[in-house]
Symmetry: D4
Subunit: 234 residues, 8 copies
Amino acid sequence: MANTDSDLPVQDFAVIDQRRGERTGYPEVVYCAGKTLDQAEAIIIRMRERGLPVLGTKADSALSERITARFPEAEYDALARTIAIGGLCPPEERQGLIAVVAAGTSDLGAAREAVRAAEFFGSKVELISDVGVAGIHRLFARLEDIRRANVIIAAAGMEGALAGVIAGLVSVPVIALPTSVGYGAAFGGVSALLGMLTSCAPGISVVNIDNGFGAGYQANLINKLAARPPKEKP
Amino acid sequence: MANTDSDLPVQDFAVIDQRRGERTGYPEVVYCAGKTLDQAEAIIIRMRERGLPVLGTKADSALSERITARFPEAEYDALARTIAIGGLCPPEERQGLIAVVAAGTSDLGAAREAVRAAEFFGSKVELISDVGVAGIHRLFARLEDIRRANVIIAAAGMEGALAGVIAGLVSVPVIALPTSVGYGAAFGGVSALLGMLTSCAPGISVVNIDNGFGAGYQANLINKLAARPPKEKP
Amino acid sequence: MANTDSDLPVQDFAVIDQRRGERTGYPEVVYCAGKTLDQAEAIIIRMRERGLPVLGTKADSALSERITARFPEAEYDALARTIAIGGLCPPEERQGLIAVVAAGTSDLGAAREAVRAAEFFGSKVELISDVGVAGIHRLFARLEDIRRANVIIAAAGMEGALAGVIAGLVSVPVIALPTSVGYGAAFGGVSALLGMLTSCAPGISVVNIDNGFGAGYQANLINKLAARPPKEKP
Amino acid sequence: MANTDSDLPVQDFAVIDQRRGERTGYPEVVYCAGKTLDQAEAIIIRMRERGLPVLGTKADSALSERITARFPEAEYDALARTIAIGGLCPPEERQGLIAVVAAGTSDLGAAREAVRAAEFFGSKVELISDVGVAGIHRLFARLEDIRRANVIIAAAGMEGALAGVIAGLVSVPVIALPTSVGYGAAFGGVSALLGMLTSCAPGISVVNIDNGFGAGYQANLINKLAARPPKEKP
Amino acid sequence: MANTDSDLPVQDFAVIDQRRGERTGYPEVVYCAGKTLDQAEAIIIRMRERGLPVLGTKADSALSERITARFPEAEYDALARTIAIGGLCPPEERQGLIAVVAAGTSDLGAAREAVRAAEFFGSKVELISDVGVAGIHRLFARLEDIRRANVIIAAAGMEGALAGVIAGLVSVPVIALPTSVGYGAAFGGVSALLGMLTSCAPGISVVNIDNGFGAGYQANLINKLAARPPKEKP
Amino acid sequence: MANTDSDLPVQDFAVIDQRRGERTGYPEVVYCAGKTLDQAEAIIIRMRERGLPVLGTKADSALSERITARFPEAEYDALARTIAIGGLCPPEERQGLIAVVAAGTSDLGAAREAVRAAEFFGSKVELISDVGVAGIHRLFARLEDIRRANVIIAAAGMEGALAGVIAGLVSVPVIALPTSVGYGAAFGGVSALLGMLTSCAPGISVVNIDNGFGAGYQANLINKLAARPPKEKP
Amino acid sequence: MANTDSDLPVQDFAVIDQRRGERTGYPEVVYCAGKTLDQAEAIIIRMRERGLPVLGTKADSALSERITARFPEAEYDALARTIAIGGLCPPEERQGLIAVVAAGTSDLGAAREAVRAAEFFGSKVELISDVGVAGIHRLFARLEDIRRANVIIAAAGMEGALAGVIAGLVSVPVIALPTSVGYGAAFGGVSALLGMLTSCAPGISVVNIDNGFGAGYQANLINKLAARPPKEKP
Amino acid sequence: MANTDSDLPVQDFAVIDQRRGERTGYPEVVYCAGKTLDQAEAIIIRMRERGLPVLGTKADSALSERITARFPEAEYDALARTIAIGGLCPPEERQGLIAVVAAGTSDLGAAREAVRAAEFFGSKVELISDVGVAGIHRLFARLEDIRRANVIIAAAGMEGALAGVIAGLVSVPVIALPTSVGYGAAFGGVSALLGMLTSCAPGISVVNIDNGFGAGYQANLINKLAARPPKEKP
């Protein structure tokens, strides 16, 4: 007789981190890869029962169908592979400004995951696409837009040079988001990751390959610091 | 007849990036590794002639002796391997607060490079040492100090778990600084780097192994955003 | 004319290690990956003919169907990918206590393979799930349960920090089980593996990525040492 | 003016983990690599002031001279690179039995670090040397000695096959200790590490390359479990 | 309009190395991976037209069907993934003796590719399976058979220790054949490859991962040297 | 409700680099991998609307069908995975000569991508196939053809030795094109890449693994320099 | 009695490739690393006896002293680590133009090796230094100088982005020269190498890390093609 | 009080494998790297006391001085880093023929280690140097010499192409010996190793990087098979 984990009640495999909001100010997010459909759905249902907004990342279309069938208000972004139900604030109350800059069309998946995450947590975001360094005038054409932001996410695959070039042109933090775009010696994003880590321009810090969520989350934290009044006595 | 690059005038091998201040708000820094003593000294002299404050990183004791002989006001930190002449503001005018948290005594070199950089650019910094996750109560004992900061630098070698544990406990950005502390499968900091990049806690971005300067610079940018009044219209 | 290895009698490709029980105290286990269905089935039939209990690991659902058709008493665990027929002792006679601690829901596959193996060989096991270090209070909430065990298996992917944090909190051996959970710089479990190998907390030893069986086997050996009376004269 | 960390009082860079004994049953150990002579000495003095026994690992001869000058009772083992002052119990009270098996003469450094650590924490240890698998009869000649132990440490460089061969011959846990012995494709111990992790023999868990201390610590934990009476109610 | 290379006549993409026989004593072999079905078939037809025997390696079942439809005398070995038409001599004229020793059932694919290649070129071969080092008595039970050979191929995945153990027990060359059997830190055969390259036993040389053909070819060359009368004047 | 990037107008994700022609003399090329069918098609339509010739690389058959349905004049090369509409000049006006030399039949995909790219940009090309170094006389038989070229592309997988051997025999630049042909320690082209980078023969520079386009582009630049009259005053 | 290779006459270990000039148009160069002083000197003496000009690369100062003592006309460049005696043509007859562009002062060693090599073989060279992408206006300030060249060498360490940015701005081939400048994740030049190989800008080919000689040699070949009249009939 | 391993009697750390001769036909060899001078000397004295001939590998000059002081008949080869006392047979009785072919002067260290080992065990050896593939006519000039051998050792660093080119030209086994010659992407011999493992020419097997001893030992085994009369009935 075969048995599977779907026989288990959700509390036996997942512990909703309810105090996360108290500790960090933000609710938990569901990393959907590596979970069975049953596991992911059970966790989302549990979170909704507790009234928590839900952001699922690395969600495939099968999960999307399962969730949108149950929660018609869920929004699935096929390119970003995110699924969202609710959010921390309505769009019109989003604060500050984050610029998400993508080197090429192929980097849009990761870039849009960053957009979705930052917006979910309440930041205003502008997405600027296809301004890779191979045609650097395209970047200069958008420089004023980029400079208006409190923090910049630079998403690029292949050699990942975009982050360093931008960091040399602005006075705010750059979150570098390496993507798995490329082939051969791109090694699934490793080249971009290494290039971003070793950039000779200061003002860059880096997240995992294709971790648009992490970039958006970190940028949101920084953007909120910029948007709030300075601490009285740190 | 042997000739060397020391025959060349400095303008033939180094271009002081004078407009860097305009573009990014901060003066250039001298990365001393890989430069001959003559090259590094010539660049520093040129910067002083132009009235720029100087921060040299990855400076060894030979360079320290050369520079302090010429500029008695230079401060050399043997552990951080930094050399500083002047700074962006006097210590009493430093702003905000950055917490630099080091996992162990062996991580202090990288951590203090971060401290020196952030202070050079005008941030107030608190260094908290030897609170690695193997004895996690030591970290909890300092948690209130850590939580007062606008941004946190977590310096750790070996498995680099400190960054993720802290990020799960605070509501501000964590800059993860992997160090080359360790041996064998630590691979000169690679294990710490990978651990920090793949942490399951959000709110972390990572700089290069032993790049205390980069961590301090990035933290300073974020700290300044937190310390200034919010932008009127981003 | 095409011929395949299924033409061969089983004794021509597999040597049942019958004296293994004498040497090591435990029967052989069938590693099913990389074997054809015919090969795996033939080996299992041979073992049953000799009255040996069977534990198959890395078994897919096709093999499960083949084996449960022939041996209705076989138990297949789809998450653990194990198939078991019989065991060394009935559940009520299992000894001692092993705690299997999984960082997240996605780590359950490897964690349950460990559970199945340790139980097959006669250890009592408690599975504690979703207590990763990003929300460390979840771990503390279960610490008393964990501390009751003779030996602990810590299963985690991504940065694998769970093993080091636990080892700093207990006085028994921790077997670290890195999992392939994660993406990008997780490199299929390499980040977790390296993090566990280089942990600054002592009291950890590590098995291969996703090798739940190996963790369970090793923990069972240790648990049995703890559960038996001490050797008279070692 | 150059300043260094030796100006700092020890409490500013090192936090003695005094409650470690309560939590884990064993005092903290000093990892000397990456610390300056001043730092290491200050920590050791502080521990002695509190009456703690001291085990320093990865200690070079310069530190040895510094420490033995101050503490004449200190024992330095140049091959193991350990320095010890006191220990958890006198030699005649050491318990149980650990067999430390070294493949070749070149592996003795790591093997003896394991011996020193296990003895420091109170285990009886037997060291068996130069029984690598290239001349496997040498191993068989010592098999009875090996089988008397509660737990075995197998130290080997190059291909690291010793651990797997032993694990197939005994009924107790094997802690595999890869060493950096070898050249070329040995990659400083990586080949041995990988071979030990992927061994087809169960009953093996692995520590970091050259981590004799970690192997000795883990073996001591297991040996103590075997040497004590079984827990009443786990 | 789409066009493909199948429009090209075979002489435009493949140059049959007809003089190979003169230079090396053996005809060319067809490496089928990475070739389209059309390309592989065209080359085989061309070789048959010239009366050459054919050995195809890394051939999948689709190619097998294509070739056996045209050449009913073709022999396809699904496990070895070889396809053979003819051979250098009839089975009864094969010379000398090669022992192909496989660690486990999962290594049989590579091992049988070696068998097929060595037989194709005229060597007598004995295949000995499932004698991995985890149960070393199984190897000793077959040692006399192994020692009768002029040269030995040792096929193993995971830690690849089999080659070193055998080489310490015999007086003839061992060709080590690492296989991609295993998971996690086996890295698709890299662990076995490294283990074999760094074995402390002399008398081993190594071929590429899963390169059964290369092992069989090299063993055949050595076996022929042993089987022929010694050169008059080298 | 699920939405995808296909809702976006093309100008929101792709910036046609119109001034690229002015800057570099050559129009932009469409890298199709990692783009959705909708994205790739929208970009190609936009380029055609502006009268630009189109070269798409890494295009699969699904995209080929989509594009040839709309643009019947499009040419798809299934082996090269290129799609071309128009070109910089008609075939009869192509200039100079590039020799593309492929080691084996399996390298033809990359080699033909190079041919397609160089011809698209206006170079005359000769493709010479199956002349790998294992049968070096085949290479010598074509040496005169190879020597007539202004620049040579050497495409090879596995050990990639072809580039070095050719460079030792000619007086013009060799562009080395490593391919992903091979298995095991070929590591998807890494062995060939490293071999080409470290060749002891000078006169070689290397492009990414399987980057036939890059090799063809670079060879075209060099061929044009050779075919034009020398600059009056550089 | 100890004997060494210096007992051997030079013809027993080195074969001067005299026909190299006929085949490739250029004399052989002496790679000095890994040769004993005696070996390197013997080879250079032999070449001078035959009237060949000498270029030695990777030469340290000990060799420099040995050679300049015997050949006072030898020129040693300590930064480039080259030693030259004679050359293919006097400086005033050098042809065409190569631009060698170095990202930073630390890259000057590799860059000057390229300069020395290209000049040795008869090309005119301009060296442009310290124009890395972190301050991209410095690059634009020199763009006209760069654009006058027939071929460009871009030398950069760390992330190596300089090559891609330049290639997007010019219409001639770029030879990318990765340097070992950097630390941590720069991995001794690997990051720069990967970044250059995967650049999204076409028109780049890459040489080995720190292979200034190879870059200069390849650039010289291309420059000569540009400087000569086009071939009558290719 | 500091104690070291030199206090131990040799039988406590080294087990002379006396029966090795019976099992494999050849005495044990002393791998000197990683042993202290005292350890290595003690082992050599012990072997001489038992009348065994001694071959020490990876021996530095300090050990050479120690040993030649005690055994004036010892022969030290500084390039090969071998030390030999006696041998299996006098030079005039050496049998068969092995050709050791070195690509360049820098490869002579590894190549001569192979020569020394093969001669020690009783094979006749011819060393052919500086015939790398960059000037392939040098190889052809020596081809007749090479073809007279029973087995060939091909020593090369950098891309290691020599082995594959030779294997395509001869009808006997080639033992490929990768060397650590080179820099940058040569990765200390890894490029050569990978190139040799993946060579498209069959008839090659590979030993560890710089393992001249292993190549010489294996070639000697093969040469002896060729030189003896064929086995009556294998």
